[in-house]
């Protein structure tokens, strides 16, 4: 840990002499090149340094990266359909080297299901979070920027969505639209956007009366341009943190839906595996435990990363 942070903190110092030296020779050049040099202390590097200061966030990041690696590698290690029956049912883990994590009640390779399930989980998590962020930022930004009755209507709609129990709403959407992975993603996105909308609205309310927004209007910029190009970059840090946490809750929602048997039956998923294994929980508990641990680690890792992002992006904590 200490090694990583120290190497990161010293690197900008090491490069600073080379960036300050161009200041010394300053003859007025007749033809100035359009090359724009002289970016001192890049904000990206700054961000990484602050993120790395939080060891828990680094652990989370490693876990998330491991998950991504598993998801990417799954088709190479298990090129065939993971839902195919490959061996004797209910083989315990570590008993057969061909099936390191054992087999489930139908004789499917749990390792293959978990590896392919990581793809499902990540896809649903990312796209549901993306959906939620798009809806949430759109609603929150519009409400705060225009205010008045627009704000009133949009916030009542937001509250409406907040009052409907999430899991019931998802189950209803999936039941009506059909059990496909796309529908689950949309359903999860549609229930998780409300906190993002409220957060975005709060940020926009604070920013929209700032003088630079007025200045942008005085430059002739339109509303959409001001909202997306000028205010949003200022409001983004807390929204990014919240979106990263929405990924975690999306993973949980997807597992819950699959557990209840409403997941996509043609796609390997962690929740689905737990759901199928629950009847055997007293004899072969590992069928539930293996994907359960995977879900737990994933959600934990995502939350840790969210915390780290919060530390790195929250200006109030910057100089701690």
């Amino acid at each position: 840990m200490s090694l990583t942070t120290s190497s990161l903190t010293t690197s900008p110092l090491a490069t600073s002499p080379s960036t300050t030296s161009p200041a010394a020779p300053a003859p007025a050049p007749l033809v100035t090149p359009v090359v724009l040099a002289g970016r001192r202390r890049s904000p990206v590097l700054d961000f990484c340094r602050r993120f790395a200061r939080n060891p828990a966030a680094l652990v989370g990041l490693v876990l998330v990266l491991a998950l991504v690696a598993v998801a990417l590698a799954a088709p190479y290690y298990y090129p065939r359909d993971p839902l195919r029956i490959v061996g004797r049912p209910e083989l315990w883990p570590f008993t057969n080297p061909r099936f390191p994590l054992g087999t489930d009640s139908l004789g499917r390779d749990i390792a293959a299901v978990v590896a392919h399930g990581a793809r499902t989980t990540l896809m649903i998590g990312l796209f549901a979070s993306l959906t939620a962020t798009l809806i949430g930022v759109g609603v929150g930004a519009t409400a705060a920027y225009f205010g008045g009755w627009v704000d009133e209507v949009l916030m009542r709609v937001t509250e409406l969505f907040q009052t409907v129990p999430n899991i019931i709403f998802i189950l209803t959407v999936v039941a009506v639209l059909g059990q496909s992975i796309g529908n689950i993603t949309i359903a999860v996105g549609v229930v998780t956007w409300t906190p993002i909308a409220r957060m975005t609205r709060a940020e926009f309310l604070a920013l929209r009366d700032r003088e630079f927004v007025q200045a942008c209007r005085a430059m002739g910029m339109g509303d959409v341009r001001i909202m997306l190009g000028e205010i949003l970059p200022n409001a983004l840090p807390p929204v990014i943190v919240l979106s990263s946490l929405v990924v975690a809750s999306a993973v949980l929602f997807e597992s819950a839906v699959s557990f209840l048997g409403l997941g996509d039956p043609n796609v390997a998923s962690w929740g689905g595996l737990i759901g199928q294994g629950r009847t055997l929980i007293r004899s072969s508990w590992y069928i539930c435990a293996v994907p359960g641990v995977a879900i737990m680690l994933t959600v934990l890792a995502l939350n840790l990363v969210g915390d780290g992002l919060n530390d790195a992006l929250n200006p109030k904590l910057r100089d701690r």
Partner: protein, 348 residues
Amino acid sequence: MALIDAPPLTPLPPAPALLSVSDLEVTLFTRAGQLKAVDRLSLEVAAGETLAIVGESGCGKSISALALMRLLPEPPAKITGGSVRLAGRDLTRLSEGEMQRVRGKDLAMIFQDPMSALNPVLTVGRQIVEVIARHDPASHRAMQARALELMRKVRIPDAERRFNDYPHQLSGGMNQRIVIAMAIACQPKVLVADEPTTALDVTIQAQILDLMKELQAETGMGLIIITHDLGVVAETADRVLVMYAGRKVEDGTVDAVFDRPLHPYTRGLMGATPSATLQPHGRLAEIPGSVPALADLPAGCAFNNRCPIAFARCFAERPGLTMPAPARSVACFAVEQEGVRHGDPVGA
């Protein structure tokens, strides 16, 4: 250029006004009722001319500027009468979309605090490029080159390096130069500067004012400077317009108004300006009281409760604008009665 170098005593030919505001009225719709924040304000700015609008806080200076730009916070404020003609076009009748094409291109504005008038998360170079991209899009490279050109024009040292800096990495004066670069990026016909130097320290103030005058001489743009600093007025303006409680109470050329202020409010303002030569250790004169709230303006002249020479008529009627001399107007009964006496001493 010619206008500025002209000897001060030659009578200026009546230059065609670039911007002419007539009877502009801004009403605030509040719970306390409808309040006239700007009441029948008329002004004209010719090309290359500088008009200063002065008055205490709450006199309606800034709201007038925002009304010109059609940037009033709506609700509660609304333009309820009058016209704003820029090069013959009535801005009050334009649609919001048309107005957006005017803002920043024909009519630009500089705000008081450069630190808050720039977007904190975008580099200053990018912010200049954005203005160019809005009104005069070209290839990215060409716009960058033009932005750099502008940065050099407003005397930013080492512009290439500053291009990628964020506003918090620059000083207030540098930021105000960036704001000015953005404002002049599309060669506006008229530039409105709302207290452009109030947030800066004195030495920087002078530099910024010099820069603005210089850019004006170069481009021939009309300039409206809103300020409560009479020093700024004397240094930069050709004509001055004094506002009180949303109304014009006096206007004229800077020389005329400074030599012989007519309205008791103008005299009060001048008396309240510290001077290095006159009685350096004396107590600074002040105008008693403060600007009345719009909701309870006194009957008659709005200044009557603070005026040293108010008489009965001032409490009964509101004085209208009279023209005691060519290119000079004032709204005061005392002046109307006494007529114009040349060689009146400055101050009451």
